[in-house]
Each structure stands twice: as structure tokens, then as C-alpha cells.
């Protein structure tokens, strides 16, 4: 367990170096971006602004300052407003978390019954149809699904808003109306992954002796599947849900942007376009940390739930 946590910390450190280095390697200059190519600005003004933002210092010094700040809980300040990165993240993290959690929940809610139905008759026509649809779903990037949903449900039918966000504490119904399409777009892509994984586990589980024993005892098929096979298949599938959580978090970046949701994803895109390194590097690190933490928690949870994993570890 200590090794697993240490690996996660090392991953986080490596991520911070990569994120920082990649951003600095990108062409573009936040100072010019901030000035908006204002006419009549002298090189002296540009240099002064660069100095004010700390961009005149070496990359190593900038990295040291950033990491030092992170350790002190100071994430820095945006180059473009007086807001600290902490405040900017605080304004938006709720939207991203809500979108991610609802999307993952929706994905699981869609995937589990679908996988069960598919696994009941492996290689039957329903299984094949679900398999085909899953492949199609996985082929769709989240932003394509977003645009498709947007055109159908917002523009053509006018049922749901095309953009924007209403916080949960302002109006629950409006919050849900604004959440439906983005969450559906993410779930449309994430749930097929869970379906395929869970279906494979279920088919394997249904082939186990304990299933035959249960059926031999006259336990109804549905009960066998739900009470015995599914319970055993869910444990390995838990790992995939962890990965899906990370995948959804990543997909949320584009989905938020398409639907105009004020979340971390759109903050990351805007910061990237402006070259607001101060914000972007911390947001990207936070998203990576979210993914690393989720997989860590899932791993630890799996170990806690599955005695075999603990045994393997002890043997190892």
C-alpha cells in the first residue's frame, strides 16, 4: 500500500514537470496576449509587464516558484485578472465535479442493465446489437456526441438549453435542465466502455461452477445473474469505473467548452488559448491529480473488497 501511494506521489511530481515544460515549450506569449496587440505599445512596456508577471525569470526559477507556492497552498495569480488561481478554481470546480459525478453515475446506470441483458444470451442477436452499439459509442469523441445532442435537443426540438449553467443552489430544476445534455454526451461515450468490460466479466462469471450449482438448485436465472454473477463481476469492473472517472474528467474539458459550462475544463481551454500559464498549469495538474487519486482510491478499494488481491500482495 505504501508503495502504491509513493508511486502516485511520484507520478504527480513527474506530471508537474511535464505540464510545466510542455506549456513553456508552446509558442505564444501571455504578455502579448494580455496586451491584445495594443497599438503604440513600446518594447519597454512589454518588458516591464513581463517583469511584473515574473516571466523574465529562468524557466527553472519559475518552476521552483510555482512548486514552492503549491506546497504553501499558494497557486499564484492569473496573468489576466486579480483573481488568485485558487479563487478561479473554486468558482468552477463545483460544476466540473457535479458534471463528472452525474456522468459517471449515468454511465453506470446505463451500462449495468445493458451489460446484464447482453450477458444473459452471449452471442445472441441482442448481445451482438449491444456490442455493435457499444463500438459505435466508443468511436464517438465526447465533443461529437455533444454537438449531435445539441443540434437535436436544443436547436431542432428546443427542449433543452444549448449553453449555460445554473448552480444547484439557485434552482434544482434549472440545474438539471442544463446538466442533462453535457452529462448525456459524456455518458454516451463512457457507458459503452463499462458495458463491454462488465459484459465480459459477467459472461465469465456465468460460466463458473457456482452458477451451475445455483441453477441446479432451481434458483431463477435472473436471481442467479443479479445475486451471484453480477456481484462477482462488479469487483473487477470497479477498476474500469475508476478509469472511466478519469476519462470522464478529461472528456469534461471539451464538453464543458461546447456547452459553455463554467467548469475547470473551459477554464483550462481559455487559459491555454491565452497562455495564462499560472492558471493552466495548476488546473491541468489538478485534473491529473484527480485522475491519479481516483485510480489510487479504486485500487485500495479493490484490495479491501477482494481478499485475493491482499493475498497476492502478501505473497509478493
Amino acid at each position: 500500500m505504501i508503495t502504491r501511494v509513493a508511486t502516485s506521489v511520484l507520478l504527480l511530481v513527474a506530471t508537474s514537470v511535464i505540464v510545466f515544460a510542455v506549456l513553456r515549450a508552446l509558442p505564444g506569449d501571455p504578455v502579448i496576449t494580455r496586451l491584445g496587440s495594443t497599438q503604440g505599445v513600446s518594447q519597454e512596456t512589454i518588458d516591464r509587464l513581463r517583469e511584473q508577471l515574473g516571466l523574465d525569470r529562468s524557466v527553472l526559477a519559475q518552476y521552483g516558484e510555482w512548486v514552492g507556492g503549491l506546497l504553501r497552498g499558494d497557486f499564484g495569480t492569473s496573468y489576466f485578472s486579480q483573481y488568485s488561481v485558487t479563487d478561479l478554481i473554486g468558482q468552477r470546480i463545483g460544476t466540473t465535479l457535479e458534471l463528472t459525478i452525474v456522468s459517471v453515475g449515468l454511465s453506470v446506470a446505463l451500462a449495468v442493465p445493458t451489460a446484464v441483458v447482453a450477458a444473459l444470451r452471449p452471442h445472441g442477436w441482442i448481445d451482438r446489437a449491444i456490442s455493435g452499439l457499444s463500438s459505435l459509442g466508443m468511436a464517438f469523441p465526447p465533443f461529437v456526441a455533444s454537438i449531435f445532442l445539441l443540434i437535436v435537443f436544443s436547436v431542432q426540438l428546443g427542449w433543452l438549453p444549448a449553453r449555460g449553467w445554473v448552480p444547484l443552489d439557485e434552482s434544482v430544476s434549472e440545474n438539471l435542465r442544463h446538466l442533462v445534455l453535457p452529462a448525456a454526451a459524456l455518458a454516451a461515450v463512457a457507458s459503452p466502455l463499462i458495458v463491454r468490460y462488465l459484459r465480459a466479466e459477467l459472461v465469465e462469471a456465468l460460466d463458473q461452477p457456482y452458477v451451475r450449482t445455483a441453477e441446479g438448485k432451481g434458483v431463477p436465472r435472473v436471481s442467479v445473474v443479479l445475486r451471484h454473477a453480477l456481484r462477482n463481476a462488479l469487483l473487477p469492473a470497479l477498476t474500469s469505473v475508476g478509469l472511466i472517472f478519469g476519462y470522464t474528467l478529461g472528456g469534461a474539458v471539451l464538453v464543458e467548452y461546447v456547452f459553455g459550462l463554467p467548469g475547470l475544463g473551459s477554464l483550462a481551454v481559455e487559459s491555454a488559448l491565452r497562455r495564462d500559464y499560472a492558471v493552466l498549469q495548476t488546473v491541468v495538474l489538478l485534473l491529473c491529480a484527480g485522475f491519479i487519486l481516483t485510480t489510487l482510491v479504486v485500487d485500495l478499494l479493490a484490495r479491501a473488497l477482494d481478499p485475493r488481491l491482499r493475498t497476492v500482495n502478501a505473497d509478493g
Binding site: 496576449t33 491584445g36 496587440s37 505599445v41 449553453r163
Partner: protein
Amino acid sequence: MKRLVALSLPAVAAVTLAACGGGSSSTTTSSADGGGGTATETTAATTAAPGGSGGSLTVGAASGIPQLNPVLKGTAFEEALFPLLWGGLSRLGPDGTVEPDLATRWTPSADNRRWTFELRDGVRFSNGKALTANDVVETLKYYQDPDTATQLKTALEPVKSVTADGRARVVFTLSRANVLLPEVLVPVKIVDVDSLRTIDREPAVTGPFTVSEFVPGDHVYLRRNADYWGDPAPLDEIRLVKAADSTSAVTSLRSGDLDALWSVPSSDIPQLRNEPEISIVEPDVTGVYVSWEMDLSSPPFDDLRARQALAYATDREAIFKAAYYDQGLVSATNTPLADNSPWFAEGMTDYSYDLDKARELFEQAGVRELTWWGVAGQYPEWNTSGQILQASLKKIGVDLKIENRELSSWPAKFYPAGRRYPGLVVPNFQSFAPDPYFQLSFLLRGRCECNWDSPEFSDLFDEAVATPDRDARKAVWDRAQRLINEQVPIIVPVQTTVATATQKDVVGVWVEGGGLPHFESAGFAE
């Protein structure tokens, strides 16, 4: 006046949009009786009479608002926000005239080098502080501070000093005569310098609205300012929100999620005009012109023949149709002012498409290859223009290489003014009030990245600005335009518009010549 280097980057572009001032319309010299300028032309359009009362208006744009300080404005959409929050000494009215705002009257000295502004009584910032002459003085100091990276620096460069004469009178002393100072000051918003540290969180404003919620880059929600000194705004609330991009913004307008959309893409305007639920608001006389910049300080464009050749090789009609969807006007004379402007000079050389002349001049100048330095992923009209130019140049043996860069790295090659970029043609556009003062100021030394350094033009500019009589001033502006027409410091293929689209029930919206929308009097039809 404002200058747009690039309009809306879904976020950044905003970036490049550089504004140097808000902008006022063409006016004659301001009257000494305090009535403000005397309008000579209408530059703004309005959807209807000021609107009904109450309600919330959602205005979208493809660029967000990253910060609230009007002095540091860097993106175009911010300019739609600032008149809602802050007042200046003067402002632009819906009919295009300059009118009193925080000042009730202004008086120039006989030589137009000293201007006295009388402040309105009873104006308070939203933090309760009373507006005094000292606030104006401190604001101007802040604008002129070398550490303040404001887009108005060059516009305010002739202001030698600003002093308070009591609590309610301010005196501007200029280094050279300027009969248009009230117009120049329209975009200068008076701020409470003492509260600058919290301007993004709790801005102290003097305008008809205050900020109720601000998420940088995403949205700003405004509510009616109960303590506003003037007539209360018709609307309870205005929400300025960012759309992912222009396509998504138009979709949101069509679906009714947006009540208004600023900077509608040219490609969508013809279709939106035919939609019964949508109105397009645009000025009668546009102040937006497309500018292709070249470096006049290095070969080949230090040679007049190369510039004239490029002007003749530009198929303006084709570009107007294919890239700008017939929105605006073709600039046959290659000058900034639109030919429907009352300030447009007659009798200038016509640079209509003529490849024979272009070939001859390019050969004389020895030009065989050029590079188009555009922006990737945005401004499709620029790319289309570049392709049309490329095809034209190919016919006369000149190779035009098209290179497009991502917006944030695009300016590095040619910005700021003074940088050398031999052989590059840089597409761009400028957005100003239609008055020649603003339209032509871009070509002054040190402002245009074209690096045109013409003492003759500078002298004409100064002479025009110092000439109170409108007809006499027009004669000087005519000479300046003829010089531009002859010297071709930039290529101006078309004048276009920055249009705002609204739902049909939105009224009271008007747009300046430069495309800046005004929602101060907006409302909903009863």
C-alpha cells in the same frame, strides 16, 4: 476609437483585439456652451426606441471577459461592458453625437490647447465615494503611468497635464491643439483609483449597472445600479456570457438561449437577416476596415511600386463576396474611410483589380515571392482572402506562401510597431469610430505595425486636429487620404461591419460605427 487587431478568439482572441479607445462618431468641434459636440452624421443604429422595463437580458459573444478594469481593457467584448459600469467625462449618444456624461459641459481655450470640464454634481461611485475633480486627475495619471499597459496611451499622449480647479472643475492642457478632445475622451472611464486593488471583485462604478457576479472568462452578471445619477436602466439585469465559439454562439441565439449576440460572423448575417425572430443591428457608416499590413521599413515593401502592385493584385470584389459575404463595402481606393462616409475624399486613384499593372510594378520592384502571415483556426475570411490573393499572384508569377499561426503566437512576428518582417503580408482588421481622426490615427508613426513613417502625414494629421471649422478640416483630411491613397501604407480591400444580432423583442440596442454595442438603454418590447 478602438482598434481591433483580431476580434474574438474564443477566449483569447479576445486577446489580440486591441482597442485604443472606445470611439465616438464624427462630430464637429464641441461647443463651448457645454452642449457637447454637434453631430454631423449618424454612426449608430438602434433596434427601436428604448425598451420596456424589467427583465434580464443575456448577451453572448465568442470571447469572454477576463477582467473588469476599463483602463486595462484587452478584449473587444470588454468594451460592451464598460459603458454599462463606468462613466467618462463624455460619452457617445445613440445618434452618434458626443454628449456630456460625468461632465456637464466643456470649454476650449481660443487656441484649443486648454480644455475645462465642469463635473456633474451628486455623482457617487457605488462604494459611496463622491466623484470629485481629483478622481479625474488621478484617473488620467493612472492612464498615463508608464506601468499601466493601456490601449489609450497613444490617444492620450497629447495630454500634457490634467489639474483640478476646485472640486468640480478639471483642466486639460494639451501639447498641441485638438478640437476633438471630448471625442477622444469618450473611452476614458473615470475610476476610483483608491479601490483599484479590488476592481475585479468589487468594482466601484458610476454607470447604470453594478456587478453582481463575475467569473473571469465566463460571465459577468450586472444588476441595475439603484444609485445611478441618471435615468435608471430599463433592465433589472444584464448577463454577458461567453459562448464556446461563433458557431455555438449563433446556435444559442437561434435556440433563444441568448437575447443578443455581439460580433456575428459575416457568413451568418445573410441568413439571420431572413429569420423573423432575429434583428441585425449595425451602424449606417462603418468604422471597421480590413487591413493587410506590410513592413515598409524593409524590402520589398519599402518600395512604393511593390505596395501599389499588391494593391492592384488584390481582387477586392472576389474577396468581398467569398470572404465577407457581401457585408460592408469594397474599398476601391484602398483607404480606411468607407466611400459612404461624409469625410471620404473624392478623386483618389482607383486600385481596382488589374493584374497587368500589378505584374509590371512587381517586376519593376523585383518581387517574386511573398508570405501570407495569417491565423490558424479562426478568421476564415482571412484564409479565404489569402487564397484568392495567392491565386491572383500565381497568374503573374509571384509565389505567395500561406502560413497560418495559432492566435497567441501570431503577433510575435510583427508586433509591436518597429519590428521588421520583410516580405510578409499580415491580414488584420481595425475598428474605430468613423471619424477620420480615429480612422487615420492608426497610420501615425509608432502605431501601425506597417512602420510607415511619413512626416507629411503627421503634419496633416496635426493640422486637421487643430482645425475647428468642419469644411476646412475636411479639406485637410482629404489631403491626408490622398497621401495614403498614393503611398499605400496598408492594403484595405474592404470595409466591413461588426454586427450585433438580437431577438426581435429586444429594443433599445444600438451599435457604434466601430461595432461596439450599447445595452445601457436596452429592454424588452411591451
